[in-house]
């Protein structure tokens, strides 16, 4: 089982991720061509302006209205993306398989980032349960997705500290990580693929068409 998880499973997960993401982006681009108002109104200046305001912390009014939540969200997302790429244990595996390596996070920082992700995820779940506006539009799939995203981080931390049975935990870690990667193109997590394009379009619709701001 370890051999399968360490080898073919990784190939399959990355393949589904890359092929699936490419398929989704291309099919969206083609659909956008059919939608007559998308491409004619896309302008670099307004698209980039909107993206810039919404990717810089506190760049948008909505972000400035909730200082704590914005901080939480940015930390969560930054740590979520950077930890799997830069953590030493993963880079070691890349070196073992492909002979390539890159700068790694110091272990302490890595642990802190994982804890930030886990706490952030739990805070999001708490918000979902307690805030009536969010609760109204929440369904089971929202909780499942948070669980799916947090599972590799929780099991990764457990594996690092060798809690319970290391062999079992590390296999669960690899499987949950692989499932998470494969599900990216086909679930709401795809917002990570599309956000530059949808954000740019909103910037153009508000900035170019209506002559106003969208941040």
């Amino acid at each position: 089982m370890y051999e399968i998880s360490r080898g073919p499973l990784v190939w399959i997960a990355f393949a589904i991720l890359i092929v699936g993401s490419t398929y989704r982006i291309i099919s969206m681009a083609r659909l956008a061509k059919k939608d007559k108002v998308v491409l004619p109104y896309m302008k670099w200046r307004f698209g980039l302006r909107s993206i810039m305001h919404w990717t810089i912390p506190y760049g948008a009014k909505n972000m400035r209205m909730r200082l704590g939540f914005t901080l939480l969200s940015f930390l969560f997302h930054i740590c979520l993306v950077l930890t799997p790429i830069l953590t030493a244990a993963h880079v070691f595996l890349w070196k073992e398989s492909w002979g390539i390596s890159w700068w790694t996070l110091p272990d302490t920082l890595s642990k802190v980032m994982v804890i930030i992700v886990i706490c952030g995820g739990l805070a999001f779940v708490l918000r979902r349960i307690s805030n009536p506006t969010v609760r109204f539009v929440t369904s089971a799939s929202d909780y499942v997705l948070v669980g799916l995203v947090l599972a590799p981080f929780v099991t990764g931390l457990m594996a690092y500290y060798q809690l319970f049975n290391y062999q079992i935990i590390v296999i669960i870690h690899m499987w949950t990580g692989a499932i998470w990667m494969a599900m990216i193109p086909f679930t709401r997590i795809a917002h990570m693929l599309f956000f530059p394009l949808t954000r740019a379009y909103m910037g153009c619709e508000f900035g170019y068409v209506r002559g106003t701001r969208d941040w």
Binding site: K34, T133, F136, V137, T198
Partner: protein, 101 residues
């Protein structure tokens, strides 16, 4: 559905036109809007919406109704568009005045 002043308004133009709608017409029009007129944008917005409800604070209707979740943008979507997309124009929400039950 929230009992607001609007629910008691009588609108003959709307009511008479609604009586002429058939489920087939509704389904055909909804399908056309979803797949042709607003296709890419609507599809992507619906699929990337993570139900965070941050849009609520930007809606004056929501704010003026004491933060009633029914009137947040995503709440309004849930009551109407999500049902329409899920049933491809076939479902007619009972409480809504727009669709004949």
């Amino acid at each position: 559905m929230a009992e607001t002043a609007e629910n008691q308004v009588v609108d003959p133009g709307l009511d008479e036109s609604v009586k002429k709608l058939t489920p087939e017409t509704i389904e055909r029009v909804v399908q056309r809007v979803l797949t042709k007129e607003s296709a890419a944008r609507l599809k992507i917005y619906l699929e990337t919406c993570v139900h965070c409800a941050l849009c609520a604070e930007g809606c004056h209707t929501y704010l003026s109704r004491d933060r009633d979740p029914m009137f947040s943008p995503v709440g309004k979507m849930k009551n109407t568009l999500w049902e329409l997309v899920k049933t491809k124009g076939g479902y007619l929400p009972r409480q809504s005045r727009i669709w004949p039950a």
